[in-house]
C-alpha cells in the first residue's frame, strides 16, 4: 500500500482503539498485523521482539487494573494489555510494509509535507552510520587519555553534539550546492501514485473496525 495512506490508516486505527474497550478488536488487529508481516517475510526475531518489548508494560497494566484499580475489572485489564500489543503490532505492520525512503518520498509527493523536513530526515538517517563511527572514535580518543566514557557521559554527548553541528552545516552546504532549495518545486524520477484499491482497503478496514467495535463482541 501507499505509505501515506497506510500511515493515516494505522494512526486512525490506533487513535480509535484508544477510546474503545473491545478486546476482540485488539486481537483482530494483532492477527491482521501478523498476517501482513508474514506476507512481507519479516524475520522471526522481529516477532520475538514485538512480543517481548511490550511484555513488562502489558503485564504491569494488567495487574494494576485487575488488583489495584477501584473497579478491579478483569475485562478492562485485558483491554489494556491487548491494546499495548495492538499498538506494537500496528507499528510492526507499518515498518514491514514500507521503507524509510519510500515513506518519506510518499509524504513528500502525496502528503505534500515540506521538502526541507523530508530531506532533513533522509539526511539524518544517512548520517546514522557516521555518528556510530564518530562515537567509537571519541571513546577511543578518551581511552588514550585514560578516561572511560560511557554512553551517558556528558563529555561524550558534548563531543557528539559538536560533531553533529559541524556535519549538519556541511550537509546543508552540500544539498544547496546540489541545487536543493527549501520547499522549491522539484520533479520526481519515480512518481508515487495511490492505486484505487488502497482506498477500498482503507474504507473496508475502517468500516470493519466500526462493525467490530459496535457489535456485541467484547
Amino acid at each position: 500500500m501507499n505509505p501515506t495512506i497506510l500511515l493515516i490508516l494505522v494512526l486512525f486505527v490506533g487513535v480509535e482503539i484508544s477510546f474503545t474497550s473491545v478486546i476482540w478488536a485488539n486481537v483482530i488487529i494483532i492477527a491482521i498485523s501478523v498476517l501482513v508481516m508474514l506476507r512481507h517475510r519479516a524475520p522471526i526475531l522481529s516477532y520475538v521482539r514485538l512480543l517481548l518489548v511490550p511484555l513488562i508494560p502489558a503485564v504491569g497494566i494488567w495487574f494494576s487494573i485487575r488488583y489495584f484499580s477501584t473497579a478491579q475489572s478483569v475485562h478492562f485489564a485485558w483491554v489494556m494489555a491487548t491494546r499495548i500489543y495492538a499498538y506494537a503490532f500496528l507499528g510492526g505492520l507499518f515498518t514491514f510494509s514500507t521503507t524509510t525512503e519510500k515513506t518519506l518520498a510518499s509524504l513528500e509527493q502525496n502528503a505534500h509535507i515540506p521538502t526541507t523536513f523530508v530531506y532533513g530526515m533522509l539526511g539524518a538517517f544517512n548520517f546514522v552510520p557516521k555518528i556510530r563511527s564518530e562515537v567509537k572514535i571519541i571513546r577511543a580518543s578518551a581511552q588514550m587519555r585514560g578516561i572511560d566514557l560511557h554512553f551517558w557521559s556528558p563529555r561524550l554527548l558534548f563531543k557528539s553534539i559538536v560533531a553533529a553541528l559541524n556535519w549538519s552545516e556541511n550537509l546543508a552546504e552540500a544539498m544547496t550546492s546540489h541545487g536543493f532549495t527549501e520547499n522549491a518545486p522539484r520533479t520526481h524520477r519515480t512518481v508515487i501514485r495511490i492505486p484505487w484499491w488502497n482506498y477500498v482497503v482503507t474504507v473496508i478496514s475502517i468500516v470493519g473496525l466500526q462493525a467490530i467495535l459496535f457489535s456485541p463482541l467484547k
Binding site: 525512503e101 530531506y119 533522509l122 539526511g123 544517512n126 552510520p129 557516521k130 567509537k136 572514535i137 571519541i138 577511543a140 580518543s141 578518551a142 581511552q143 588514550m144 587519555r145 585514560g146 578516561i147 572511560d148 563529555r155 563531543k159 559538536v162 560533531a163 559541524n166 556535519w167 552545516e169 556541511n170 550537509l171 546543508a172 552546504e173 552540500a174 544539498m175 544547496t176 550546492s177 546540489h178 541545487g179 536543493f180 532549495t181 522549491a184 518545486p185 522539484r186 520533479t187 520526481h188 524520477r189 519515480t190 512518481v191
Partner: protein, 473 residues
C-alpha cells in the same frame, strides 16, 4: 567579458575578526583552467564558497558583488545557481545527502526540475564520464575517498554547470584517482568549454594543464593573478622545495618488534594493504610515508582497534583484535589526523590539566610543560578555545597532550601539517627525545619530509598495497 567577476569584495567570518578577503577585485575568463594557490588557512576555501554563493548565506558577512555571467550569485535561487556554479569539496564524505551515488544524482536532477523521462540518460552519462558506473548503487560508506570524489565529479557533470570550483579536491585521494580526475577536468575545459578554478597548495602536475595561476596572499587578504614570469617562478620554487632524499638505515633483523604484521590485509571493498608481513621495531622512531589515499591512516586505525582487518597484526606478541581496548590504550595511543578527535574539553588549559590528571608517569611536570608550551609558541593561550586555534597550533597541542600522557608507543598521523619549519623541528626534537631518553616507540605518518631524516631511525613506505623499508628518506 569575463565569466566570473569579483567587485570590491570584503568578507569577515565575524565582524569583530579581521577580514579574510579585503577589497578584492578579480576576474576569471570563460573556458579556462585556473589554479588558486597559497598557504593553507589563508582563505582559498572561503573565496570559492563566496563564488559558489554558499557564503555569506551559511556564514559570515560580505560586501561587494560577485557575478557569474553578469548575474550576482547571491540573488539566484539554489537550483539556478547550481546549474551555473558547481563545487567539489575537500572532504568527500561530507558532500552527499543520499545513500548511493545514483540516488544522489537523481536527487540533484530532481532539484533542477529535470523531467523524469530525461533523467536516466543524464544520470548514466554522468556516471560513465566520471567512471563510477560500476559502483553507482553501492553505499557511500563502502566507497574509498577517491571513488567518492569521482562521484562528486559525476554530480558536477550532471548539473552541467558552467563554472566548476574544486576545493583541495585531491587531499585524501590516491594518485591514480587524482590523475583520472585531472584528465576528465581538462576534457571539461577543452571540449565543453567549462571554467574551472581549483584551490590547491600542492602544485605538482598542474603546470601543463592550467591557463592561469592565482596566488592568495594571506598578509594582504587578497588574491592576484600571477603573470607568466611569476607563475614560472612559483612552479620552479615548488619543484625545488620538493624533498631531496637523504640516506637512512634499514632495520636490523634482530630488533625486538613492537608490532608484527603477518599476512595482514586491510581495506574496504578492495584491500588497501594486501598480505603485508613485516616487523615494526620497538624503541625506535619510524616514519611512514606513501601517497594520499593509499591506506596509511587505515593502518593506524587497525593498530588502535578502530578498523577490522584480516590476517595477523600483533602488538608485543598479542593479536590486537583480541586485546581489551581500555587496557591496550594505556600502551598504544594515537595523535589523530583530525585534531578535533583528540580534544575532549574546551580550553587549552583544560586539555593540559586533563592529560596531567591521567598521565601514566610523572615525567611531565608543570614546569616542563610550561617550558615546552613556550618552545612550541603556545604560551599564554591557556584560556583559548582549542577549536579556535590555527591548524598548526592544534597539531602542536595534540602532540604535547599525548606526550604528557607518557604512553609507551605513540602513533602520529600527519602531526606536521600546517607547521612552519621551526615548529616542525621543535616537534621532531620532542619525539626524538621521547625515543632516546624515555625509550618510547614512535611511528609517524607525514608528507612533510624536510629534515625529518635527521630525527628518524627508519623509513617505512606504503606503495601498491605493500609496506617496505626504504634506505632513504
Amino acid at each position: 567579458m569575463s565569466k566570473i567577476n569579483l567587485n570590491d569584495v570584503t568578507f569577515h567570518y565575524e565582524t569583530t575578526l579581521p577580514p579574510v578577503i579585503e577589497h578584492q577585485n578579480l576576474a576569471f575568463d570563460g573556458g579556462t583552467f585556473n589554479l588558486l594557490t597559497g598557504p593553507s588557512g589563508t582563505g582559498k576555501s572561503t573565496l570559492l564558497k563566496l563564488i559558489a554563493g554558499l557564503y555569506p548565506a551559511f556564514m559570515g558577512e560580505a560586501t561587494g558583488t560577485i557575478t557569474v555571467n553578469d548575474q550576482p550569485v547571491v540573488d539566484l535561487p539554489a537550483s539556478k545557481r547550481a546549474q551555473l556554479v558547481a563545487m567539489m569539496f575537500q572532504n568527500p564524505s561530507q558532500q552527499f545527502a543520499m545513500e548511493t551515488p545514483r540516488n544522489e544524482l537523481i536527487f540533484t536532477l530532481e532539484n533542477l526540475q529535470v523531467p523524469a523521462d530525461k533523467m536516466d540518460a543524464r544520470v548514466n552519462d554522468a556516471l560513465a564520464f566520471a567512471g563510477v558506473t560500476d559502483f553507482a548503487d553501492r553505499r557511500f560508506t563502502t566507497l574509498s575517498c577517491g571513488e567518492q570524489q569521482k562521484v562528486s565529479l559525476a554530480v558536477i557533470v550532471a548539473l552541467n554547470a558552467e563554472v566548476i570550483l574544486l576545493d583541495e579536491p585531491f587531499a585524501n585521494i590516491d594518485p591514480d584517482a587524482r590523475l583520472f580526475l585531472l584528465t576528465q577536468l581538462t576534457t571539461l575545459v577543452k571540449k565543453y568549454h567549462k571554467t574551472i578554478i581549483v584551490a590547491d597548495h600542492d602544485l605538482s602536475d598542474y603546470e601543463p594543464l592550467i591557463d592561469q595561476l592565482y596566488i592568495f596572499d594571506g598578509e594582504r587578504h587578497q588574491v592576484h593573478q600571477a603573470d607568466a614570469g611569476e607563475a614560472q617562478t612559483r612552479f620552479a620554487a615548488f619543484e625545488q622545495r620538493q624533498h631531496q632524499p637523504a640516506p637512512i638505515a634499514l632495520p636490523a633483523a634482530e630488533l625486538s618488534p613492537e608490532f608484527t604484521l603477518d599476512g595482514f590485509t586491510v581495506g574496504h571493498q578492495t584491500p588497501l594493504i594486501n598480505d603485508a608481513s613485516l616487523n615494526i621495531p620497538q624503541g625506535k622512531f619510524v616514519v611512514l610515508t606513501g601517497a594520499n589515499g593509499t591506506g596509511k591512516s587505515t593502518l593506524f586505525d587497525a593498530l588502535v582497534k578502530l578498523q577490522t582487518y584480516t590476517g595477523s597484526l600483533q602488538w608485543q606478541g598479542q593479536e590486537i583484535s583480541k586485546l581489551r581496548a581500555r587496557k591496550y590504550a594505556q600502551h598504544v595511543a594515537l595523535v589523530f589526523q583530525q585534531a578535533a578527535s583528540q580534544f575532549l574539553t574546551i580550553t587549552v588549559a583544560e586539555e593540559i590539566a586533563l592529560s596531567l590528571k591521567y598521565q601514566q608517569t610523572t615525567a611531565w611536570t608543570q614546569s616542563r610543560i610550561d617550558a615546552t608550551l613556550a618552545s612550541l609558541d603556545l604560551a599564554g593561550r591557556d584560556d583559548q578555545v582549542v577549536y579556535s586555534l590555527s591548524e598548526g597550533q592544534k597539531k602542536k597541542l595534540q602532540v604535547l597532550l599525548m606526550l604528557i600522557m607518557d604512553v609507551p608507543t605513540l602513533l602520529l598521523d600527519e602531526p606536521l601539517t600546517g607547521l612552519d619549519l621551526v615548529s616542525a623541528h621543535t616537534v621532531l626534537k620532542l619525539l626524538r627525545h621521547a625515543v632516546l631518553e624515555e625509550h618510547h616507540t614512535v611511528l609517524m605518518i607525514t608528507h612533510q619530509l624536510t629534515d625529518v631524516s635527521q630525527y628518524a631511525d627508519y623509513h617505512l613506505h606504503l606503495n601498491h598495497h605493500q609496506l617496505s623499508y626504504e634506505a632513504s628518506l
